[in-house]
């Protein structure tokens, strides 16, 4: 194992998502028109968890989906062609909705930029907001998150790895020290 430490454990993640769910409800005045769209792979899982919490708190079931951004990436030519993630819009689509994009880590902002382009081709929301479990800084585009689980100061040489129960068998956010690039 390289030099790494958990910065968030399962209870921390649980609390962070609970807080974000409350904030979404508060900010969108009951989340009537909200659609949660996760960015695969882990963003999609987080979106489902947020949806479950909102339903738990308010009793309303808000539409949850996913939007794959692979085909919109600006770095496609730097690596071999990647497998696509799954895009699944709620049956009523996203026109006229408040879309909350959900991702696990906010870093350069390029993923979010790609997601905004993808949304543009999928419909016309009234507003787009952004929720992220971890904001690790180092933005390369004028993008900021509306909902943040944890602001995590990092060095560029470090890596942030998010583990989620549904995919990885445990919940944790791990900071891996640099040099492993």
């Amino acid at each position: 194992m390289s030099d790494s430490r958990a910065v968030l454990e399962a209870p921390d993640i649980h609390r962070a998502l609970t807080r974000i769910a409350h904030e979404i409800l508060e900010r969108t005045k009951g989340a009537d028109d909200v659609v949660l769209l996760g960015i695969p792979t882990r963003g999609a899982t987080l979106a489902r968890r947020l949806g479950d919490r909102v339903e738990q708190f308010e009793g309303v079931k808000i539409p949850v989906g996913s939007v794959d951004i692979t085909m919109y990436r600006d770095d496609l030519r730097l690596r071999p062609a990647r497998p696509l993630g799954h895009t699944e819009l709620p049956p009523d689509g996203i026109d006229g909705k408040v879309v909350v994009l959900v991702d696990d880590v906010l870093y350069s902002g390029r993923t979010v930029r790609a997601a905004l382009d993808a949304l543009n081709d999928l419909g016309r929301p009234t507003a787009v907001q952004l929720a992220t479990l971890v904001d690790r800084g180092h933005r390369e585009l004028p993008i900021r998150a509306d909902y943040v689980g944890k602001n995590l100061p990092t060095a560029k040489s470090e890596k942030v790895k998010v583990y989620l129960q549904e995919i990885d068998g445990r919940d944790a956010v791990v900071l891996v020290k640099g040099g492993a690039r």
Binding site: M71, Y72, L76, P80, A81, R82, P83, L84, D117, D121
Partner: protein, 305 residues
């Protein structure tokens, strides 16, 4: 995946599943209002067609355009371009235009292999002579999978002029890779003498095979084969190897009927069979665009060497 898609045999099982899974994701693009992705912006795809095939050319063109590639259609049919010397010269011209991929349809088996020696971009075989047509096999497998689920252990029967069929060759290879059990049914004159070495079963008796088939794929019978005495008459062929209503009734209830088109209705397939709900013939066309998008994306969507 290899740099070119020339033979279905070039694909490993993982490659084939990656293409099918990618196509599954891309299928939704055809259903939305903006049917376009920016992925291949700045890439150039040349459709190099030495044979008339409007259907296949349009399918590749739509696929490339939906991925925002620039498309150049180069139809060599009818011009003096028929000798191989020109294939090389044409290849050098395409090279100079900076083609990132060349989609080639050619009457000579192996022409895409030759082209691949002369161009740097990816070569996609859109049908070469009586050799292969790998994207057709992929779209067939995709259509089957959407109807039936995974293809492992599925019984797939391919009926007709196997000897001259590029569709049959590609399907035998691809479906074998995907774990399906393929049976070829044809009059012995329309099977290669070496068909016993192929990874499939062979039968001369369609009626015996039909009740055990999950998929029955009918191949087009070219009229000119009749003149070359491959079979006595259209009527006899149709009676022995055509999929008419009575034979259709012998198929299991959930089995599907396929045809790569264009069909000879009343010859190898009865009209009411072709138009039945268990026929995938129309969706095969739509799936063609999707599968070709997947192929072009996977060949051109990443770094290129």
């Amino acid at each position: 995946m290899k740099r070119h898609l020339i033979s279905a045999g070039d694909l490993t099982k993982d490659d084939a599943l990656l293409i099918l899974d990618t196509a599954e994701e891309l299928a939704s693009v055809s259903e939305r209002s903006i049917k376009k992705l920016p992925t291949l912006r700045g890439r150039t795809v040349v459709n190099l067609f030495f044979e008339d095939s409007t259907r296949t050319r349009i399918s590749f063109e739509a696929a490339a355009k939906r991925l925002s590639a620039d498309v150049i259609n180069f139809s060599a049919k009818g011009s003096s371009v028929s000798k191989g010397e020109s294939l090389k010269d044409t290849a050098l011209t395409l090279e100079a235009m900076g083609a990132d991929a060349v989609v080639i349809r050619h009457g000579a088996s192996g022409a895409p292999h030759r082209l691949a020696n002369w161009v740097h971009g990816s070569v996609v075989n859109a049908g070469d002579g009586t050799h292969e047509h790998p994207t057709q096999a992929l779209l067939d497998a995709f259509s089957m999978r959407r109807r039936l689920g995974a293809l492992e252990g599925r019984k797939i029967t391919i009926v007709g002029d196997v000897l001259h069929s590029r569709v049959a060759r590609s399907n035998v290879l691809l479906l074998g890779t995907l774990g399906a059990d393929v049976t070829l049914v044809a009059p012995p004159t329309l099977l290669p003498v070496s068909v016993g070495t192929w990874p499939c079963e062979v039968s001369y008796d369609l009626d015996a095979v039909l009740p055990k088939s999950d998929v029955v794929m009918m191949l087009r019978v070219q009229k000119e084969r009749m003149n070359a005495a491959y079979f006595p008459s259209e009527r006899e062929y149709s009676r022995r190897y055509g999929l008419d209503r009575d034979r259709f009734a012998k198929m299991p209830d959930d089995a599907i009927v396929m045809h790569p088109g264009p069909m000879n209705r009343g010859m190898e397939i009865a009209a009411e069979v072709a138009d039945s709900a268990r026929s995938t013939i129309v969706e095969q066309v739509a799936n063609g665009v999707t599968i070709r998008m997947a192929v072009l994306y996977l060949l051109l969507g990443g770094e290129t060497t």
